[in-house]
């Protein structure tokens, strides 16, 4: 009964005011214990909401890599450091007395979800999307063809993409997909090295880009200009990118200017900027800048990949065959239909940026293979008590960090409601991380704590300082573990 009294909203504030706070060194054995699988934004925001709302809940975050923060570290572009400011709030959460981070633990391999469910009252799956949608066309396996996920992982230091060694010796690169990730890739391929060298881009990527021969990047989409998925900030960055000029087919913008009046403001401004870059006559200054530019980029619309064409030695990509589409339907619901026409584009680098994809983690967790998400209702995993999910694995791999933040708060709220209503039983005593640590030790797995990560963080920052970069990321899990244990 005392617990019920203490957890009602008013009394929570009163107990806090009198100093019953997160400085306690251990939570009572009977406190609710929640385990979060995945140390990216979804995991941290879910944890944050839980520890902030209830003063008795203990949250443990398990992460496969020794380093936390997921796509904030490995996905956000190096030249977007302000987007990474969220790391500060995640750090606060990790340092909270009722929250702990356990890196270097592979859920599904080092410990099963079933074992986590035995140790915790609730398990929240927030492990994101480590796979990618494939184009499903012949030639996809040729050298020179990469998923954007892997290319981004390469320049952002994701250990598994360390040895990607993309071939940048060609003149033209074709990117399939027109979302913000596609624009990030285009920007990395065309940015002056002088700009990139001051960011946290990995050194090997910087060296490769300094030697790159890529001078032209085409960003190809199935549908038309009104359906581009990128947002205006990223488009503006391309338009203003030093040393580059836009090159697009005027014919692909026929009829677009007439639609502007009826568009909602966000889409209207985006389309106006696109038209300005694509078909309007530039002002004097811009004209001169474009004249001097040695690199070019452009969108191509109504094109879908049919095949990656091989070189004469059949080893690498030498071109891409595209089906030409036309649009049917109108308003929000237009769809692309093949016209039968086909177009070949010569290129040596093909990057497919058509979406990430979640993968199943453990047989104990239901998985919808068609949608590639965990089937759930408001974050409650279907047909399985005590299991929840948040982030991309819950609703699909789209949206910005703020979208995931709100989504994670929603899942945390669902979980807390379930505790409040009694549908999530927290009356039994659960061992929490103690039980999991014992299992891991038996299996020879040594978790990395948050303060261990801070040693890695310091070392990366130190290495970066000598090069004028915010950090020099470690690319090797072994090296990370060595520094963590020092």
């Amino acid at each position: 009964m005392l617990k019920l009294f203490l957890t009602s909203a008013r009394c929570v504030r009163i107990t806090r005011f009198h100093g019953v706070c997160g400085l306690a060194t251990s939570t009572p054995a009977s406190s609710p214990k929640v385990c979060i699988v995945g140390g990216g934004p979804a995991g941290f925001y879910t944890a944050q909401h839980l520890v902030k709302t209830r003063t008795d809940v203990q949250v443990d975050i398990y992460e496969r890599l020794p380093v936390p923060f997921g796509l904030v570290r490995f996905g956000v572009a190096p030249d977007h450091p302000e987007v990474k400011n969220v790391i500060n709030t995640f750090t606060q959460t990790a340092r909270h007395a009722r929250c702990s981070f356990h890196g270097n633990v592979r859920v599904g391999k080092d410990v099963t979800v079933e074992e986590l469910q035995e140790a915790y009252h609730a398990v929240v799956l927030s492990y994101g999307a480590e796979g990618n949608r494939t184009m499903g066309v012949p030639g996809e396996d040729l050298a020179g063809v990469y998923s954007a996920k892997d290319f981004v992982g390469w320049y952002n230091g994701l250990p598994r993409n360390r040895d990607l060694r993309p071939d940048l010796s060609c003149e033209t690169a074709v990117i399939l997909g027109q979302g913000n990730v596609a624009l990030d890739v285009a920007r990395m391929l065309l940015s002056p090295v002088d700009i990139l060298k001051k960011t946290d881009i990995t050194q090997h990527a910087l060296d490769a880009l300094a030697e790159s021969s890529v001078r032209r990047v085409l960003i190809v989409g199935r549908r038309g200009p009104l359906q581009v998925a990128c947002t205006i900030k990223e488009l503006r960055e391309m338009v203003n990118l030093p040393g580059t000029r836009p090159e697009m087919e005027v014919s692909e913008f026929e009829g677009i200017a007439e639609t502007l009046k009826a568009l909602a403001r966000p889409r209207k401004r985006l389309t106006e900027l696109l038209l300005k870059a694509a078909i309007e006559t530039p002002g004097k200054e811009e004209f001169e800048r474009w004249n001097r530019a040695e690199r070019a980029w452009g969108f191509r619309f109504l094109r879908r990949p049919l095949e990656v064409l091989p070189s004469t030695d059949l080893i690498r990509a030498a071109g891409i065959r595209l089906a030409v589409n036309r649009l049917e339907g109108d308003g929000e619901g237009v769809w692309a239909v093949a016209t039968g026409e086909v177009e070949d584009v010569e290129c040596g680098l093909v990057i497919s940026s058509i979406g990430y994809k979640s993968l199943p983690i453990d047989p104990a967790v239901p998985f919808d293979a068609r949608k590639a998400i965990i089937p759930n209702t408001m974050g409650r995993v279907q047909q399985t008590a005590g299991l929840y999910c948040s982030g991309w694995v819950k609703r699909g791999p789209t949206g910005v960090i703020a979208t995931t933040m709100n989504d994670s708060f929603d899942t945390a709220r669902t979980l807390l409601q379930d505790i409040g209503k009694g549908t999530l039983d927290v009356s039994t005593v659960k061992p929490g991380s103690q039980a999991v640590s014992a299992l891991l030790e038996k299996r020879g797995v040594k978790p990395v704590s948050f303060s261990d990560w801070e040693k890695i963080d310091s070392e990366e920052t130190r290495r970066g300082e000598t090069r004028g970069k915010p950090r020099e990321k470690m690319l090797d899990v072994g090296e990370m573990l060595q520094v963590a244990r020092a």
Partner: protein, 196 residues
């Protein structure tokens, strides 16, 4: 200390020297528990000490700890204060008295206001989570919005014709009595949140 009673919870803000430590944008009220000494409380609208926190200009990643500084110029009982009312996502209203010159994001941070997930990018125009909705009369008097702000604002959930990003709006005397609100959360019959 300003004390407001809402339908479900009681909301109050206290300024103390100790609560200046380890500020966090999102773990607002848990910071009360970090107070070591008894807080100095003065009844009424005026507060004794105002902490200001100035984020670096956009484009720089900053550490929230290094950016905190104590602005002694505001340490004066006779300083004129501007009253601003905040309505959060659950409809709960909090009234604060603040000095001119800080942004509305600064106010939310410094006053530990209970607004979920506010200011994720720490004022660098890289998100839209400090989105606030204003009354028309106040909105029309503000500094015009620039492209960079509008670019991010366009992505905000619940965008209105009188919306701005809190990190770009600076408190001025004529804003005395202004009410700002965070988009209310919409839940449909199934219980899922209105999408962005």
């Amino acid at each position: 200390m300003v004390f407001t009673r809402g339908p479900l919870t009681t909301q109050f803000t206290i300024d103390t020297p100790q609560s200046n430590m380890a500020r966090c944008l999102h773990l607002g009220s848990f910071l009360f528990t970090k107070m070591v000494n008894t807080p100095r409380i003065s009844m009424g609208v005026k507060t004794c000490l105002i902490k200001t926190w100035t984020p670096h200009s956009q484009g720089k990643a900053i550490s929230i700890h290094s950016a905190i500084h104590y602005n002694s110029e505001n340490n004066s009982l006779s300083e004129e204060k501007v009253i601003i009312h905040f309505i959060n996502q659950d409809g709960i209203k909090t009234t604060t008295a603040v000095t001119e010159g800080q942004t509305l994001l600064d106010v939310v941070v410094n006053k530990n206001l209970d607004i979920r997930g506010f200011g994720a990018c720490e004022g660098t125009l890289a998100c839209s989570t400090c989105h606030l909705i204003f009354d028309k009369t106040f909105y029309e008097k503000m500094e015009p919005i620039v492209d960079e702000e509008m670019d991010m604002l366009d992505l905000a959930y619940g965008l209105t014709k009188t919306s701005r990003l809190g990190c770009q709006v600076t408190v001025q005397k004529w804003m005395d009595g202004m009410t700002v609100q965070v988009p209310q959360e919409v839940r449909d019959a199934v219980g899922s949140k209105g999408s962005q």
